[in-house]
Amino acid sequence: MVQANNSQIFGAFLETVPASEEYLTLNFSPSSAPRKRRWSNYGLSADFLGDYFAAFFPGDTLPNSQINRRNTVKASVSYIANELIENAVKYSDEALSLPISITLFLYELEIIFQITNYSNLETGADYQTFVQTILNSEPSEFYMQQLEKTATGSGGSSMGLLTMINDYSAQFGWRFQTSHHHPDVVQVTVMAHLEV
């Protein structure tokens, strides 16, 4: 029997990423350990991804920067991977006991990040609404609006995505997918393109 899927795609999402010679995947098992105990492992993993991919780049200088190419890749990858993992953990429904998976693909001109987590329907729907709001806004204006909201304590946290888009010029795509097998679960896949 063919599994019927319902999938909704937004932004710069590629169903099939181009073949890449260099890629690396980390899977985080669902865990019963308290989030507080697991949290620092996510940061370590993001730093590892930064170090791993930076090693493919030379340490030449970049225009208008005191940080060389290798260290720029290292810090950007580490920031973006950390924010993507933090979001995936926050939006995962722990009761589902499903893993989070992140893959980075290296190309000549960009690194593609792809991260998957499983959310409950309500969280998935809220996230989808927020994605549509982002896509219909002017990035820098929306960023300042949200920062002011966050700073005055009247907004939720959404600064992770907005800093990646606004400060690191990452291009984002999203896929929200449900299957008849698991009607209460949304598979959320986020894709980020970082120019290198």
Partner: protein
């Protein structure tokens, strides 16, 4: 009397306040889980800023700050902005990427904020 700590120190990061120079120093890697976890640092900053009309936040040795930390800094900036009587200076480094990317946005929240970058 309610005595607030002037130093928070862990394996990953340190935050402390030096009254002589009216400066709060940040060092290391800060990626706490959401705003709630940042509250002790926020409390340290708010209690320190009470004591001075010019207040420096030295971030030069803070190698990593996650977006929740950036949100915490933005909250602090707005609190100082709304008090209206403190000259706030953020000291950053041209050698730390997140600072070159994200600190300028805090200035947009408070135009009188001074950003000092050193190499």
């Amino acid at each position: 009397m309610d005595i607030k700590p002037v130093e928070i120190k862990t394996d990953d990061y340190s935050v402390w306040y030096e009254p002589e120079s009216s400066t709060a120093f940040f060092q290391g890697f800060l990626r706490l889980d959401g705003m709630v976890e940042y509250q002790p640092i926020m409390d340290l900053l708010l209690s320190a800023v009470e004591q001075s009309s010019r207040f420096n936040v030295n971030l030069k040795e803070l190698e990593f700050l996650n977006s929740s930390g950036i949100s915490m800094l933005s909250m602090f900036v707005v609190r100082v902005r709304d008090r209206g009587n403190t000259q706030l200076v953020l000291q950053g480094s041209e050698k730390v990427l997140w600072q070159t990317k994200s600190l300028k946005n805090l200035q947009r929240l408070m135009p009188s904020l001074t950003l000092e970058f050193s190499s």
